[in-house]
Symmetry: C2
Subunit: 424 residues, 2 copies
Amino acid sequence: MPAPCFLIAQGGGPTAVINQSLAGAVLQARALAPGCRFLGARHGVKGLVAGDLVDLGDVPAAVLDAVAATPAAALGSTRDKPDAAYCRRILERLREHGVSHFLQIGGNDSSDTLRLVSEAAADAGHALAAVHVPKTIDNDLVGSHHTPGWPSAARFVAQAFAGADLDNASLPGVYVGVVMGRHAGFLTAASTLLREDEAAGPHLVCVPERPFEMAAFLDAVAAALARHGRCVAAVSEGIAGADGVPIAASLAASTGAGGGAERDAHGNVQLSGSGALADLLCEAIKRGLGAQRVRGDTFGYLQRSFLGCVSDVDAAEARAAGAAAVRYALDGDGHGARRGSVAVQRDAAGALALPLLPLEAVAGRTRTMDAHHLDAGGFDVTPAFAADFRPLLGSGLPRAVRLAAPGVPRVPRVTSPPASGANA
Amino acid sequence: MPAPCFLIAQGGGPTAVINQSLAGAVLQARALAPGCRFLGARHGVKGLVAGDLVDLGDVPAAVLDAVAATPAAALGSTRDKPDAAYCRRILERLREHGVSHFLQIGGNDSSDTLRLVSEAAADAGHALAAVHVPKTIDNDLVGSHHTPGWPSAARFVAQAFAGADLDNASLPGVYVGVVMGRHAGFLTAASTLLREDEAAGPHLVCVPERPFEMAAFLDAVAAALARHGRCVAAVSEGIAGADGVPIAASLAASTGAGGGAERDAHGNVQLSGSGALADLLCEAIKRGLGAQRVRGDTFGYLQRSFLGCVSDVDAAEARAAGAAAVRYALDGDGHGARRGSVAVQRDAAGALALPLLPLEAVAGRTRTMDAHHLDAGGFDVTPAFAADFRPLLGSGLPRAVRLAAPGVPRVPRVTSPPASGANA
């Protein structure tokens, strides 16, 4: 049997730890299959079909480790979503290069690509191992407790809201921070993970799992203003009305704001890369409530690519997932399957488990937040959410410490009229 | 002579290290003037005139140290810009509480407030020390090499652009990041401080010091696209046309976007807290160049308040500036002035120097970038900028390491016609 030839590709939006999975896979292959070849596709399947490949065989381990600690896809990524014909071209290129083991780091679209490619390989009688390494800041892969990439993005969002909340306490008003997440609110919900007390924001959390209704939102903002004298709101870019249409998409269609109705290869209206949703909500708050100092931020690409905000738990898990994919590709799941999607789970003792799921169980499916993680009031998460996910933020978290100091009694004004008696 | 009574206030936009100056002042006063009182105004001069004060005398040093490491004004801040009548009310409150030493941490507006208050005190024959502690992420105070708060914000902006540039290299297109800065481009220019090579972005830097002309901007974007296949641009929120009108203000006036034409107490149109400028530039790039995948982010409040991105150089200098203010307030500048503004300078050996400048030298004035820090081409900084300012980002900077791996030769296609000879 010839030495294995691996090919790895990265797909979809980058994360802070996507290169950990790349390094984990390459180093695991070298350890288990000395003499193997290890190729990388530039810009994912797009580069693969174009023949734009690099040889990762001789990249020193120290370089791989340094690249692993660098955010964004080191090989380049793509938004292409291959159909069956595209996948046959992928298979053709894999056969030309003698690839026996195909690994794809990505979200549920990447697992769907692997499914199509491995079906085409089976039809052609080509023995191809095909394993998906999970990656997404959205945390929306079915079958996993969480997904590599989300914990680091969650850490960024939590630290950002902890700081924005302090800023808002310094200069009180309303602050709306829009967070990535088309269908799943996990990343927006992470805004709550560093709240230190009941007065700390975010005071409102709006996720796509809950239909967005402007009047109810304004009532909730008003309630927070009444209670705290200020309001910090965390809002998913994907919030949608009861009809399922994203608020940002309605906005884009009606005003041309945010790049008009630009759509990606999946037919989805582009939500990120525009400040339109935050601006819309701020306008509604100003007009509806007459509130002063209303400010909106759209976290944009910083939350997935900021250099220097990584969860060490996430980094270790992403690396382990890449290594596990190589082991499954070489050995199968004990039944010789050698195809599937690595899931990130916790065993009963809370330890990391990385089982192999069928590609069909993950491909093209979207997980959303569990009901028990969402507060019945509609604008917050439950304590169970923090219990499940806060440990993933990793070690060395900064703390927000508020100043506690006694008030100074007001000095009676000499210009005030003197007290005139007990019944004044 | 009775024990001194200090009162400290924080004003304007918060920074990551504004509480270092607070802690530095309190601890220095305890060391030099045992038995002194030390009051704090809640929400700056606004709380001061309302009599909303706290007693900092018994706050443990460990708490002060923890608060010092927390971003945003721990005492609360204000955007009020006192006029002469307001300053007389401030003086009245100071006298009621027996304040002998008034410290204000803030920007050039804060130094102007101190100037007015100390003039009113002199007119009233009230002995009042009045010292300004510099603070601003804009780096725009006259008389300083740099201003506490800017280095930490600059570090955030540099790390953000380093990550956004990697993201853009992964999924090529045009990325526009809008950075705070109304008149001075220092913070936007900080986007360049972690560029590792010639291909790394930002490829364009647009600062308020250079008149913004859309056609020239689009030409520069097109040139970057031609050269690098992608373009990352760092743009100050305060960019203005040759007529001096900010682009964002023109936009607000013409479309109502970004909160209409909201103005602050200084009469300035609100620039932050809206994504309108980034969206405008992205639209212009799409329409003018037909570019694909154009994305805009507005960094917003994260750049001044993010929890967990601090320059240790900045933290130490901010603390030293607070301590220096107390020493000047107690001892004067050797000529008994006991009023002025602490400047942050470098001596000939590069060591920190904290001279006391007259309040009039700083009050109400704005420093902009030096010509020798701006590239003649109009869209970049010079190496002198990095030489002057990169050391301020502090220690422990993350590094972006790009993957270098040899290309794999393309496989000749079996479906291609065979070579027909040397003259084919």
